[in-house]
Symmetry: C2
Subunit: 143 residues, 2 copies
């Protein structure tokens, strides 16, 4: 692979990542959220209650990251932590009422972000999302 071609690819991924995150920050700020937190809230909204290990797996983050994020979201009153009755090690997390009430606005922001992400495309949008997925799975460490 040519050096300049490599630079083009890597720079494009980097630029996309940074701008996607920046756009997310702008859309989530009015909700009092930071990029990365929405993933946990959406996961909890989809599954009702999750263990922190499950949140780590779903978000692609490491456990220590979940510890910190969950603590902040709990301090913000958006979710509740509770020890698992069946497993003394696990702690179960679920949305609070305030967290649940935030979901409609969060979903709207999430859709708007996806819309903006695809706004610059000239061609097929489904093909573009498919390519993103292929690249992501191609970079999967378990391969």
């Amino acid at each position: 692979m040519d050096s300049t071609a490599a630079k083009q690819v890597n720079d494009a991924v980097r630029a996309l990542a940074m701008r996607h995150r920046a756009a997310a920050a702008g859309l989530l700020a009015p909700l009092g959220l930071h990029p990365g937190q929405e993933v946990l809230l959406l996961e909890l909204h989809a599954h009702g209650e999750r263990t922190q290990a499950q949140l780590a797996a779903a978000s692609g983050c490491e456990p220590p990251t979940i510890t910190g994020s969950v603590r902040k979201l709990e301090s913000a009153g958006l979710l509740v932590r509770r020890p698992s009755p069946t497993d003394g090690r696990a702690t179960i997390v679920e949305l609070s009422d305030r967290g649940r009430s935030l979901m409609p606005a969060l979903q709207a922001a999430w859709c708007e972000l996806a819309e903006r992400t695809l706004s610059g495309l000239s061609g097929d949008r489904d093909r573009a999302t498919a390519l993103l997925g292929e690249m992501a799975t191609g970079l999967d460490p378990r391969a």
Copy 2:
């Protein structure tokens, strides 16, 4: 835009970003570098000497980020800072000998990263990179 379609797009971008970064970390660690630093070194290698404001513009980062990164790279002995003779505010940055000697390995790692990024693609690679660029520019705040 459908909520589940939005989730698919945003999750794909997030996954791609995180795995690309993780792969970069793995490839750069043997060189003693962290993801994000390579951008500055490559920019300096391409232009000889750059002002910190130019590095900020080239990397897409804010000035305070450059301050910190440049300081660490200077502590690592990879670059040198020098006040501008023509502008009392600006400081000029350039690669040190050690930094220059690192470039071949860095370029190799950079190519390997791009290779892995495209490794999962079934279709046209040029089209994929073009789509990345279109999405990035579509998310450009100046639009």
